[in-house]
Each structure stands twice: as C-alpha cells, then as structure tokens.
Symmetry: none
Subunit: 269 residues, 2 copies
C-alpha cells in the first residue's frame, strides 16, 4: 500500500533530515577546528567524536536522497510510489557510530589500558548485538508480533550497556576530578534519555493507526535522537577532554598570557 | 538474461556498498587525524594506509552508482536492465591498493633499504600478476572452464606472496620487538583469511545455481573482504607504527605530563 503524505507532513520529515545534515556538518567542522585546544593525550576521544558526526553526515545525505526518491508529488500530495525508502541506512550508521560513541566515553576517562580494552570489547559487542537484533523488527510489518519480539531481544544488550555504564563504570570514577565526574554523569543521562527516544520511535508504527502520521513522527524522532546522541554527546566529551587538559596544565601552542605584564609568553610553533 | 532481485536482496548489496563507503571515509579521516601520534620516521606506512582507504572510497562511490544504474524498480522487484553493472572498478581498485597494502607491511618493518626494495619489487609484481590474471575469469560466463582456468593461474602469484610473507619475511622478524612480532603475525593471518574470502566470492557464480543469490553473496563478501583487508589492516599497521614510535621514545609535540608539578612541559612544534 502506497503511503500518502500531505505537503506539511512530507516537508516536516524533509526539513528534519536537512536540519540533521546541517548539524552534523557544523559539528564536524567544529570538532576539527577546536582540536588543538585539547592536549594530545586527550585527543583520541575528540577524534572518535569527529568520525561519528562525519559518518552520520554521510548517512543523512543518503537518507535525504532516499526520502526524495521515494515520493512523487501529485495533486498537492506526496505519494510513496518510487523506489522504496531505505530504512537500512540508519542501521548501517548505528552499527558504526554506536560502538564509537561508547568508545568516546571510555577513552576520554583514561582508565588503565587493561580496563579500557575490556570495556571497549564488551560494549562494542553489546552495541552491535543491540542494533543487529533491532533491524529485523524495523523492517517487519507494523502490526506484526515479530516487530515486538525483535524489540524485546534488542533491549537485552541495551540493558547490559546501561549496567556497564552505571554500575561497573561508576566504580572507576573515583579517581576522576569533580568536574569530570559531573560531566560523565550528564553523559550517562544523555545516553539514557536520547537512546530512550529510539525505542519509542521504533514502536510508533505499532502504536499509531494512521501509518502516515506514524512514519512522520518516527523519522522526526530518529532525527532528533541522532542530533542529541551525536553532536551534543560529542560536545560533552569535548568538555571532559578540555577539563582533563587543563588539569594536566596543557596550554595550546602559541597561547599568549593575558596578564603577563605586557610580555606575551610565546611558545614556539 | 536479466537478473531479478527481490527488494531485500537488492538492498542487502546496496547497504553493503554504503557501509563500505562509510567505513573507508571514516578510516580516511581517522588516519589523517592520528598522523602526529606516529614518529616521523614511521609515518610512511600510515601514509600508504591513508592512500589505500582513499582509493577504495573513490571506487566504492563508483561501484554504488553502477549498482544503482544497473537496476530498475518495477512491481516490487529490482530488474537488471539498465547499464551493465561494472565489475571492473574492483580490479582497478585492487591493481592500485594491493601493492600498496603489501608495501604498508614491508615499509613499517624498517628493514635494510636493499631488503625493502627487493621485497617491494617482487611483491608488487606478484600482486599485479594475481589481479591481472583474475580479471579475465571474473568477466567469463559463470559455468565456463575459462573462469576456473584463470582462477588457477591467479592463485600461483598469490601462493608466491604467501611464501614471501611467511617464509622469507619470517627470517627478517628476529630483530623486531615482541609487540611488533605479535602484530606482524596478526597482519599475516588477516591477509590469509581476508584474501581467502575473495577466491570464494570469485567462485560463487560457478558454485550456486541461483544467479541472483550468487551475485548478492559475491558482492556482500567482496565488500566485507575489503573492509577487513583495508581499514582493519591499516589499523594493525598503525599499531605497529605506534609501537615502534614508543620504542624510539617518541612523544607527540605538546603532550603534557600528568604529574609535572604544575609546570606545563610545553614542547615546541
């Protein structure tokens, strides 16, 4: 059955996708430009944030194109009768970006290398399992029990990730400074809140009878979730990296002291 | 005969190609961003990794476009009746990237310059021969004996490459540290395993009767093989370059000591 959207419904999704493209592009540029403000030993987390928004930028350009190709404009309505809209891009995106997002959080804390490796391996496997188990449900029919079953299966690794972040990682936070601890707390709550948006968006086709409304709401929520979970998350990780750089006494090369009695302290560059 | 793919079959290949584009792009960005973490004397291998993923990024954008143009969406199915899908991109890609991949491994070891030159020349010739001999078979009919004959011819230089890497190179590894030796071992096994994916993918049209399934499985396997053989291989080469940088006492410019008694150790760059 071809989905029929009003001009406003179609444009709301269209403009949401474009908003995400602009946000990811701006975040990519920003993370590249502020790179030198972070001490070299804390830059890896920023590098991962940069990759995440770059990968998401690419996928939203594709999603935007796929949305465009899926509809034709006839008699004031947008009718989905072109190539099928490809929901797969999101899952390919998450397959790459979710392990990287979790790695950002782990890497920026600078735990022991054994602890870091163990956390990275377990969180990556759980993230890949969560996304791989979600996909079969996403492409199932709206009212099918398959949709619900895969959703439940996908929730198990999600709960494991939350357990690792809140219980296991909590114990490793004792050696961090107050500023860093507060930022890590915010990061963990962003994960709970924004990652909580996705399951709601996922279940919408089963909850709302009007499939046009369900599709519009789902795409807008996924878009919003991605902006919170990627650029905003990256900004908080940057905040941690900057706090840790300051604690290590890092000064960006070439920085002149503001109140250095007239003689700028020039560091060779 | 026109190939007919279901929506899911078509999308699986489509999304695999898109996944490779995102992976190559992310790897390109990553290799550029971490460049300064490697000592200048060990950067050439990283430079080669950067070229490899850049070349592959370009070719997968072309392959993706070629796949798109080859099919039309009619009555819920994808029918291959457009421009022929161009398998040649892969071979042009491999012609450039396989000698570079082998060069990554040789260059990062920092053997004597006579040994390095000799290995580079012989491995490059063998790599080019392997790919040039494979191509006539790839474009032969699925059930032809030509396909098998060229496959056998292409295997001879492949075996020579394995001989050089495992027997000849093995003797040169004695002077390397334990960490480096372990990483080189992993690299050689990645070559055996991932390069082993290609011949299987190559033979699929002769092994599977359903040519739609054979085409889908072949493209997915080639894509997976390329992600393992290029970005993952590059990450291990980076690991060797980083281990060697550390062994040489290299510290990235600007790195501040954690416990430097409040005085930042600013290193000019």
């Amino acid at each position: 059955m071809d989905l029929i959207l009003s001009e406003n419904q179609y444009n709301l999704v269209y403009n949401s996708f474009s908003f995400v493209i602009a946000s990811m592009g701006a975040a990519l540029l920003f993370f590249l430009l502020v790179r030198n403000r972070v001490a070299p030993q804390h830059r890896m987390a920023l590098t991962l944030s940069t990759l995440v928004v770059g990968i998401a930028l690419y996928h939203y350009v594709r999603i935007f194109g796929s949305w465009n190709d899926a509809f034709s404009f006839t008699k004031g309505q947008f009718i989905q009768n072109g190539k099928p809209f490809n929901e797969g891009y999101r899952y390919v995106d998450w397959l790459l970006t979710v392990p990287l997002l979790l790695a950002e959080l782990v890497v920026v804390l600078k735990l022991s290398s054994a602890k870091t490796r163990s956390l990275l391996v377990r969180l990556s496997i759980a993230a890949v399992a969560m996304i791989a188990l979600g996909y079969p449900g996403e492409i199932s029919a709206a009212d099918s029990s398959a949709r619900t079953l895969w959703a439940v299966a996908s929730t198990i690794p999600f709960l494991y990730i939350l357990f690792v972040l809140f219980v296991e990682l909590g114990k490793s936070l004792d050696r961090q400074s107050g500023t860093v601890k507060k930022l890590v707390d915010s990061l963990r709550y962003i994960i709970v809140v924004t990652w909580g948006v996705y399951p709601i968006a996922y279940m919408l086709p089963s909850l709302i009878d009007d499939q046009a409304k369900a599709q519009v709401a789902r795409q807008v929520m996924y878009s919003l979730g991605d902006v919170l979970a990627k650029p905003l998350f990256g900004l908080l990780v940057l905040g941690i990296a900057l706090a840790k750089s300051r604690e290590d006494g890092y000064v960006e090369a070439g920085t002149s002291e503001h109140h250095a009695m007239g003689t700028p302290e020039v560091v060779g560059s």
